[in-house]
């Protein structure tokens, strides 16, 4: 019988630590598959965030470095400057990259740092138990916005990819989702293109991915996917937000 699917070599056998229904696992697989398909596993150094995905260092089969909360892109800059021939990427939650690490997010893009950043947006701080993040949408209930996010008080949510897309050094910016098979396939293409951009040395590449957090949203996995579609998709623009001519020529 023909084998139609097998686990990517990009992932180790270390079990995922994620809650049932969380989509971090899908995103891990997509990145690992892309690295394997591009034959980059031995060439790549990943940089981990602090948060739910802070333990992915053991889950990927490439080298990995973990530093302080929000600093992954600064750490990645140091690695890339020391080893420009290597592929370097960061994997960060929205709390990591869009709150405490925002200055680095802006400046790696401004410098056109030749790294790839993957942002996983689930609209909350997951690991600490579902607090409000800069990406929490208006009216969303979290433990630090128990009456729903009041945009008059906390401001409206940040759509980080749109901000990053305004900077010249960011040559490829895309926003995907993993709520459906179609979107999973689309997101994988975006991740692949982001790594191709880095391989060609064109500049900073950034992929943001909408993700679920059933535990902290207080919903079943299926209801979480529906909640994401109904509440996050109208707020966060999806698709390729920016691709320079050079990127489109790839």
């Amino acid at each position: 019988m023909e084998k139609v699917f097998s686990k990517t070599k990009g992932l180790t056998d270390v079990p995922f630590t994620y809650c049932p229904g969380c989509t971090h696992g899908i995103i891990h697989r997509l990145i690992a598959e892309v690295l394997e398909e591009m034959d980059l596993l031995e060439n790549t150094i990943g940089v981990a965030p602090v948060g739910c995905s802070g333990f992915l260092l053991d889950m990927f089969s490439c080298d990995f470095v973990g530093g302080p909360h929000g600093r992954a892109q600064a750490v990645a800059t140091g690695i890339k400057r020391a080893m420009p021939e290597r592929t370097v990427f960061t994997y960060q939650g929205d709390g990591d990259i869009a709150a405490i690490g925002t200055s680095h997010a802006i400046h790696v893009a401004a410098r056109g740092e030749k790294i790839t950043s993957i942002m996983v947006n689930n609209a909350v701080f997951g690991m600490t138990g579902g607090q409000m993040a800069p990406t929490t949408i208006g009216g969303q209930v979290t433990t630090t916005s128990p009456y729903g996010r009041d945009c008059a008080l906390a401001g409206p949510p940040i759509d980080l990819p749109k901000t990053i897309a305004t900077l010249e050094g960011a040559v490829y910016v895309a926003a995907g989702s993993v709520d459906s098979p179609k979107n999973v396939a689309q997101t994988k293409k975006m991740i692949k293109k982001a790594f191709q951009v880095q391989q060609k040395g064109l500049g900073f590449s950034f992929v943001s991915i909408l993700s679920t957090c059933p535990t902290n949203w207080g919903l079943s996995p299926v209801d979480s996917l529906n909640w994401l579609r109904k509440n996050m998709m109208p707020v966060y623009q999806l698709g390729e937000l920016k691709a320079t001519e050079e990127v489109n020529a790839l």
Partner: protein, 353 residues
């Protein structure tokens, strides 16, 4: 051998290049800025690179990343900027990454001023960042030592896989002195078999420090503490000046070590048997210098702060000898005359100043 007139900050930068430092990440702040300026001019010529970070936090974390690949890397700042780097210092110590970090101490707290100060003694020697960790701290007292200790700092960082601090002040950083461009000493260093450079032909590696169980946390912490204890045992360094027959001792590092030498000469002209211990490592504090001092009747620390190192001296002599301190704050310098006057006052000696 080639000698050149350089600012202390430039001496640090030149020594870094000659130590094989390939990357420098920093953010300008007076009075340390000549380090990043000198390196911006000269490090690229030596095959390295300088990147000006968006802030101090980015700069130290860029060092973290570069050190993870095994590259020799340095950053430099001054007090308020060094404060911002403390998160990074804690993570570097935890992940055991060798980075040389220069702090050209200005006076504080807060924004403070630019004058020479030793107000960051506690911050540099007691940790500064969170958690139970130690970093080696080297304290040069003149231009040539800015150069020599920088070379030493890179070797110590690699030897122990640890961040090493060079602590000087604005006067040492800004004063021009003739510097001998010594070659890098040949030192046997452990192979960097832990670096994350891509897993070509070897199993994957990771560099990080966290623990998911308290038991693992204890194990990792004890391993780190054993390393710190080894540094404490092996790396204490200091200079003795006229201590053999001394009845009174000054203890001063950096700029105060220099002022202290002048005070010793002044006292000896008047028949007072004064000596000086100049700590070179501030951590580990050179406790061994104080083990056997049977003739010493009193100790005076000389510090450009409100009295910080005096606590370590008291601990070193286990309070068996009277220890007093002579201090000046706010960026002002101490004179050798004022040291002598204070010595006379606290130990009831007759001096002419």
């Amino acid at each position: 051998m080639r000698r050149q007139l350089l600012k202390g900050n430039e001496a640090i930068a030149e020594a870094a290049i000659r130590s094989g430092c390939k990357l420098f990440f920093g953010y300008p702040i007076t009075p340390s800025t000549e380090i990043i300026e000198y390196l911006s001019r000269n490090l690229p010529k030596a095959g390295g690179a300088v990147l000006q970070g968006e802030d101090e936090i980015a700069s130290i974390n860029m060092c973290y990343g570069a050190a993870a690949t095994g590259a020799r890397v340095m950053t430099a700042s001054s007090s308020p900027g060094y404060s911002l780097k403390q998160e990074g210092m804690s993570y570097l110590a935890a992940a055991e990454l060798p980075v040389v970090v220069v702090n050209i101490n200005r006076n504080g707290p807060g924004l403070g001023g630019l004058g020479p100060s030793q107000g960051d003694y506690f911050q540099c020697t007691k940790g500064g960042g969170h958690g139970d960790y130690r970093t080696i701290v080297l304290a040069p007292s003149k231009g040539q030592e800015m150069y020599d200790y920088t070379m030493k700092a890179f070797d110590l960082a690699d030897k122990y896989r640890t961040p090493v601090v060079i602590l000087a002040d604005g006067m040492l950083g800004q004063t021009m002195e003739p510097i001998e461009f010594k070659e890098r000493p040949s030192v046997e260093l452990p192979e960097k078999d832990w670096v994350t450079t891509g897993c070509i032909g070897r199993p994957k590696r990771k560099i990080s420090m966290y623990n998911l169980t308290n038991e693992a946390g204890e194990e990792i912490s004890l391993k780190l503490q054993a390393k710190f204890n080894k540094m404490k045992d092996l790396e204490q360094q200091w200079e003795n000046y006229c201590t053999d027959d001394a009845e009174y001792l000054l203890v001063g590092y950096g700029t105060c070590g220099r002022v202290g030498k002048s005070a010793v000469q002044l006292a000896r002209q008047q028949g007072i048997k004064l000596g000086l211990i100049r700590p070179i490592t501030l951590w580990p504090f050179p406790e061994k210098a104080f083990i056997s001092l049977p003739k010493i009747k009193g100790i005076l620390t000389v510090e450009l702060n409100a009295g910080q190192m005096v606590e370590d001296v008291k601990l070193a002599v286990k309070c068996s000898i009277p220890v007093q301190s002579h201090t000046r704050v706010g960026g002002m310098l101490l004179s050798e005359n004022s040291v002598l006057k204070k010595l006379a006052e606290v130990f009831q000696l007759e001096v002419r100043v």
